[in-house]
């Protein structure tokens, strides 16, 4: 059960000032030359973000991007908003301090698989469990790019890289399972190449009050090229991608001939609709409070991309840390005036 402190269930942008002035994508482009490698998936995500932000109608000065270290973490420099390129893994912690103290800002964290899941794993899970009003975009290219090609916490077992010439020994994280395990209130996945799907997910994330975790599969053309080719190939994509649409049975395949059905103890698996019947296909409901459902969904997608759910897996309402923290301050202010002299003097004095 989620804990509500009697706070109104507002959208993620409730306190962020809006403007009627028309905005265009170019308004969000900074004057800095973008320095990612040619063909990098980050370009597409950046363009999508710059075209999507105007649709929110927010005052651009009330948007902040905070990043860590890595290729994706250069993102803030290219956005004509406020931004901080911080240190490796720590962006969620820094963004927490900002979000708690400034409800009038829409705060976005841009991170990568190494930044968020390796050096910054602790901050990520704690930001998610606290449900701080942050939008966390994890660009997952399954490799360390900026340091020129070592395996990452999402690389497949046995991956040969400069640091693993005989193959990596690490079992990879499933980022969605991790986020759901931390009871993130919003968990979604999108592909860098799918502008429409990514825009839908970003829009919902922006409107969500609380931590929104979005994994974006992103191609690194230099050190891990083609990692996601199997789900970008049109025919293969139709067979492998499982688009999640709230309120609809989870079906997929070129002819929608496959579906997701219940399996074992709180699990889900894929099956042929013709064999199980449409009535037995699970109807997607991201608002189920128990994280077991979204977790089971996340497990359908494996490292091998054989099946890959995309869209919003989980979207539940739960009190945010920053709202609750501000409510305590407001409550304390109401209960007791800020009498500094009284505080310093205390109750137990003597006079000389």
């Amino acid at each position: 059960m989620s804990t509500h402190l009697g706070l109104p269930d507002l959208g993620g942008l409730a306190d962020v000032p809006t403007t009627d002035a028309p905005q265009k994508a170019k308004d969000y482009k900074s004057d800095q030359e973008v320095r990612w490698c040619p063909g990098c998936g980050d370009y597409i995500v950046l363009n999508t973000m710059q075209s999507f932000l105007p649709t929110l109608g927010l005052k651009p000065e009330n948007i902040v991007f905070v990043s860590g270290i890595g290729c994706s973490s250069r993102f803030p420099y290219y956005m004509n908003t406020y931004g901080m390129h911080s240190i490796h893994g720590r962006a969620p912690a820094i963004a927490t301090g900002l979000a708690v103290s400034r409800p009038d800002l829409s705060v976005w964290v841009v991170t990568g698989d190494g930044d968020a899941l390796s050096i910054g794993g602790n901050h990520l899970i704690h930001a998610l469990r606290r449900n701080v009003n942050l939008k966390i975009l994890l660009f997952n290219n399954r490799i360390y790019g900026l340091t020129k090609g070592q395996y990452s916490p999402t690389s497949e077992e046995g991956k040969r890289t400069k640091s693993t010439p005989m193959g990596s020994l690490d079992h990879p994280f499933n980022p969605l399972s991790l986020a759901i395990g931390a009871e993130a209130s919003f968990v979604a996945r999108a592909l860098d190449s799918d502008k429409k799907g990514l825009t839908e997910v970003l829009t919902a994330a922006a409107q969500h009050r609380g931590s929104a975790f979005v994994e974006i599969y992103q191609n690194c053309p230099i050190f891990n090229d083609g990692a996601f080719d199997v789900i970008k190939d049109k025919d293969e994509a139709a067979r492998r991608l499982i688009p999640l649409r709230p309120g609809e049975p989870i079906t997929f395949g070129p002819e929608e001939e496959y579906g997701v059905v219940r399996s074992g103890f709180a699990g889900l698996e894929t099956a042929k609709v013709s064999e199980v019947g449409l009535d037995n296909v699970v109807v997607h409901d991201p608002t189920i409070t128990d994280p077991a459902y979204a977790f089971a969904l996340s497990r359908i997608g494996g490292q091998d991309l054989e099946h890959t759910p995309t869209g919003i897996l989980r979207q539940v309402s739960r009190t945010t840390y920053d709202d609750a923290a501000r409510a305590q301050v407001a409550q304390a202010k109401q209960a007791k005036p800020a009498d500094l002299q009284g505080l310093l003097t205390g109750n137990d004095t003597w006079t000389v």
Binding site: S30, Q32, K59, P60, E61, N62, V64, V66, S67, I69, P76, Y77, M79, N80, T81, Y82, G83, M84, H85, S86, I87, R90, P92, A93, I94, A95, T96, G97, L98, A99, V100, S101, R102, D104, L105, N122, H123, H126, A325, R326, Q328, V329, Q331, A332, K333, A335, K336, P337, A338, L340, Q341, L343, L344, T345, G346, D348, T349, W350, T351, V352
Partner: protein, 644 residues
Amino acid sequence: MTRETMASPANGKTEVTKLDRVVIRFAGDSGDGMQLTGDRFTSEAAAFGNDLATLPNFPAEIRAPQGTIPGVSSFQVHFADYDILTPGDRPDVLVVMNPAALKSNLADVPRGGILIVNTDEFSKRNLTKVGYEQSPLEDGSLEPYQVYEVAMSTLTQGALADTGLGKKDAARCKNMFALGLLSWMYHRPTEGTERFLTEKFAAKPQIAEANLLAFRAGWNYGETTEAFANTYEVAPAKLPQGTYRQITGNQALSYGIVAAGQQSKLPVVLGSYPITPASDILHELSKHKNFNVTTIQAEDEIAGIGAGLGAAYGGSLGVTSTSGPGVALKSETIGLAVMTELPLLVIDVQRGGPSTGLPTKTEQADLLQAMFGRNGESPVPIVAPCSPGDCFDIALEAARIALTYRTPVMLLSDGAIANGSEPWLVPDVADLPDLSVEFAAEPNAMDGSDEHWPYVRNTDTLAREWALPGTPGLQHRIGGLEKADNQGHISYDPDNHDRMVRLRQAKIDGITVPDVTVDDPTGNARVLALGWGSSFGPIGAACRRVRKSGMEIAQAHLRHLNPLPANLGRILEEYDTVVLPEMNMGQLAMVLRSRYLADIRSYTKVAGLPFRAAELAEVFTDIINDTRPEGSGETDHVLTEATE
């Protein structure tokens, strides 16, 4: 110590001796409530108007095995009829609740000192546990002392017989019995403790009554038995006029942060992670949310400072509090704060190191970590309080520097100051400094464009503008990568980097700090005793002793360690010898030698406890007499009685 004895007009049996100062140490098992007992006795002394200083000393383990030496917890209080500077070198009175407490504390008691012993715990088993083959109460080894044997557990149980409490629970009140007895011996007012017990146990009336009964039983035991030949009076101290309260260093530091928020009109955001001996700052600030204070208990030390820095970026007074091991973890973020030039208070309540070290003991060994413990050229201002009460002023000073110069500031307190308490002259809020800040409101590009350049500097302070997210037209990006001078875009240009390194250094070097003052009563001293941080008390007390013995010595104490006061170099030159005691291996001495090419005599001790005044007095005397060999560290302790 001066004394004056007369027959008590009260009962004619005991004599009342007037003393100018007394040091009492309560020692017992960790579960015996010695910290509470000491704390209450201190409050009674404060309420009576004595000057006082305290030294709590307890193990890092919450409950070490009962009755063992590692489990001993003690609380020393020094109270006097004049202004004192330290918690006292050696206890005049040692109250011991068990054999372990006797064994571990006896060496500190001067011959002739008073021992008050709870005999009930001196069983064969308890004696064996700490290696006594024979009871020291019986083998004559305590002959040099005035020993008072009191069966405190039994007497307490007797007093509580009608309360319905079990024997074991009743015996747990024996610390209040001890407090009652000592309160009688020293003519302390008792109303405060009675009120305290009633309020503390308001929800448990039976426990409240038991503690009150035990407290009164201790008092009555002294009053009605003839066991004690003397009681003692220590008159109120003649301190500067004003309203006083008792305060610990961590409390004063927390109040200083609250005051800094009010005086700057900024919200305070503390990001912190529990760590001894700094956690009380997190606890205290969490009580004062009505002053627009937000406290975040983060998932780790790094997240604590990260939250503080994130809040600072958004326009709050960002604070993080920790001890040495936490500073090690925060170093990278302090570097980011240096690079992004944002105001941030980093509080290091130093403890014994390295590594986990001595969590509950004191040390001054983080100075070089604070000064240099980051990658790259990463200058940070450093301030250090010299007493518990000074923590309030130093917090305001740290905030002034951080906000004026847009820089992280290291504040180095330590365990002795943090947990020690003293009477504090309550400041008038109207006298506190104005710390209000101006945020950037207009684009400031030097090329006439409508852009905001984040690294354009104030020509006086070299501080960059604080442009808050949410300000229209000032959108800009900052971060850990090197930035172009003024414009603030990423720059790898060699000359630019060299210039930015020098600018960051010049900004810190140019911080205005007050001159250091020298206490040299005759103006003829040839030796200067220099110090920093919590050693102010012992150094000052040692100087008093040296002067009382007819010699001359000057004293100066640094509260600003980076940048150093502008007049320090001249002062170092004015004396033939400068002696610098530090609870480290000579860290400030190293800095001063390098900075001023000055011949500093370093005296070091790293024992986890504050210096003793007597020890330093001997060091100073030897140096004045030119009989002390260079480079000697630890000295034998002087056992002679002396005033401060």
